[in-house]
């Protein structure tokens, strides 16, 4: 019964707090790789229909259901939860405004938990680390620009100045 497989995979992606790999979906549904893949294909087709506001999205992390980008602006205020935790956001902000920045420098500002946030952000491909001899430096990625919908990092700095005024310079000098 392929319909039931589709249903359970849809339910799994709906409730999951993170994207699911094919392996994970096989486990949940108890079906083989082929059936999982063809079910995913059917789900993708169903939701691509214009009457749907959500879609199947595949990223490096796996499969997930998400709001179609064209509706995101209109509905995203309906949830208070962002997919980045406060700690992750702090690290990301430091990399965005002060990058390339040494990993150890970030830990000095945020504390030791910074290392686990850095790992999370790398997994989400929002930052990348580069190794120089003894130190690791961090920088934002193209995926970061996609995520925030900007072309250049400069756009962010302008926004920072707009919101903070003179304080922005002081902050940028720190660290």
């Amino acid at each position: 019964m392929s319909e039931e497989t589709e249903a359970i995979i849809e339910a799994a992606m709906f409730i999951s707090s993170e994207p699911l790999s094919v392996g994970k979906l096989r486990k949940v549904s108890g079906k083989d790789k082929e059936e999982v893949n063809s079910s995913l294909e059917n789900i993708r087709k169903k939701f691509s229909d214009e009457g749907h506001g959500i879609e199947l999205f595949q990223s490096a992390e796996g499969y997930e259901l998400r709001v179609k980008p064209e509706y995101l602006d209109e509905v995203s205020h309906l949830t208070p939860y962002s997919d980045l935790s406060r700690g992750q956001l702090k690290v990301l902000a430091l990399v965005a405004f002060k990058g390339p920045i040494k990993q150890s420098n970030i830990a000095k500002i945020i504390g030791n938990r910074a290392y686990s946030y850095i790992k999370d952000l790398e997994r989400k491909q929002l930052i990348r680390t580069e190794k120089h001899k003894r130190t690791k430096t961090l920088e934002i990625t193209d995926e970061f620009k996609n995520y925030f919908g900007i072309e250049e990092r400069k756009e962010l700095e302008e926004k920072l100045e707009e919101t903070l005024g003179e304080d922005s310079e002081k902050l940028l000098e720190k660290a």
């Binding site: 709906f14 409730i15 999951s16 707090s17 995101l72 995203s76 309906l78 949830t79 939860y81 962002s82 997919d83 980045l84 406060r86 956001l89 702090k90 690290v91 990301l92 902000a93 430091l94 965005a96 405004f97 000095k108 500002i109 945020i110 504390g111 995520y147 925030f148 900007i150 962010l156 926004k159 920072l160 919101t163 903070l164 304080d167 902050l171 720190k174 660290a175």
Partner: protein, 233 residues
């Protein structure tokens, strides 16, 4: 009941019959139709106000109050029982179970919908990152200060034995000049602050343990009373 009136009445040193009589007249209770619940309440209110003036309440008056209150409780319980028999009232037994015995109920899991973070949130996080740093540094400084305060200050660091003897001498001196033969911990200290308390408390414990003084604290946070001990030299 006005406090002024109670004051006046209490001065006459009444017995319990007179007290009862007085309350009934003060409260305007019909002596031929006394509501015991009301009377008990008025009586106990009277006694507690009486006590407030620091007068000694005669024991018999207190006993009468206790009896009245018991009658009141019994009456109320009887009334409640009567009401429970009311056909409208559902009979529900009181459960006597422990919190840990409550069956486990699992709530259906919910999806937690998330959205992307916004550029504004990123800017806010940038600001907060430095706040976090400052807070952490302040916390560290506070901690260091506290440790310093609790430790003897350099230069003043002296041998614990020396401190014990000094304290003992001070106690001895104070007690010699006093008739009652006792003093308090707070009187021993030149100044009541954390440092002095810490400096003198453990020497005092040692002296107490050795029986050279007899230190006693009647309750938590009360001052410590110090007397000369059995092994006084």
């Amino acid at each position: 009941m006005k406090e002024q009136e109670i004051l006046k009445f209490a001065r006459t040193e009444p017995n319990w019959e007179e007290t009862l009589d007085w309350i009934i007249s003060q409260e305007g209770i019909d002596p031929w139709d006394i509501d015991l619940v009301d009377l008990a309440e008025a009586f106990s209110e009277f006694v507690s106000k009486w006590q407030k003036f620091n007068f000694t309440v005669p024991a018999r008056v207190v006993i009468v109050m206790a009896i009245l209150l018991r009658i009141k409780v019994e009456l109320l319980m009887w009334e409640e029982k009567e009401e429970e028999k009311d056909p409208e009232e559902v009979e529900i037994e009181e459960l006597d179970i422990d919190v840990s015995d409550i069956p486990h109920l699992e709530a259906p899991k919910k999806r937690k919908p998330v959205r992307k973070a916004t550029a504004d949130e990123l800017i806010d996080a940038f600001k907060k990152a430095f706040d976090t740093k400052e807070r952490r540094e302040k916390r560290k400084q506070r901690k260091e200060r506290r440790v310093k305060e609790a430790m003897p200050i350099d230069g003043q660091q002296e041998d614990i034995e020396e401190r014990i003897e000094k304290l003992y001498k001070r106690i001895d001196n104070i007690l010699e000049n006093m008739k009652e033969g006792k003093t308090t911990f707070s009187d021993l200290l030149p100044e009541w602050n954390r440092e002095e308390v810490v400096r003198n408390f453990s020497p005092l414990l040692r002296l107490n343990q050795e029986g050279r003084v007899d230190a006693e604290q009647s309750d938590y946070f009360e001052d410590i009373i110090i007397k000369i001990g059995e092994n006084h030299e």
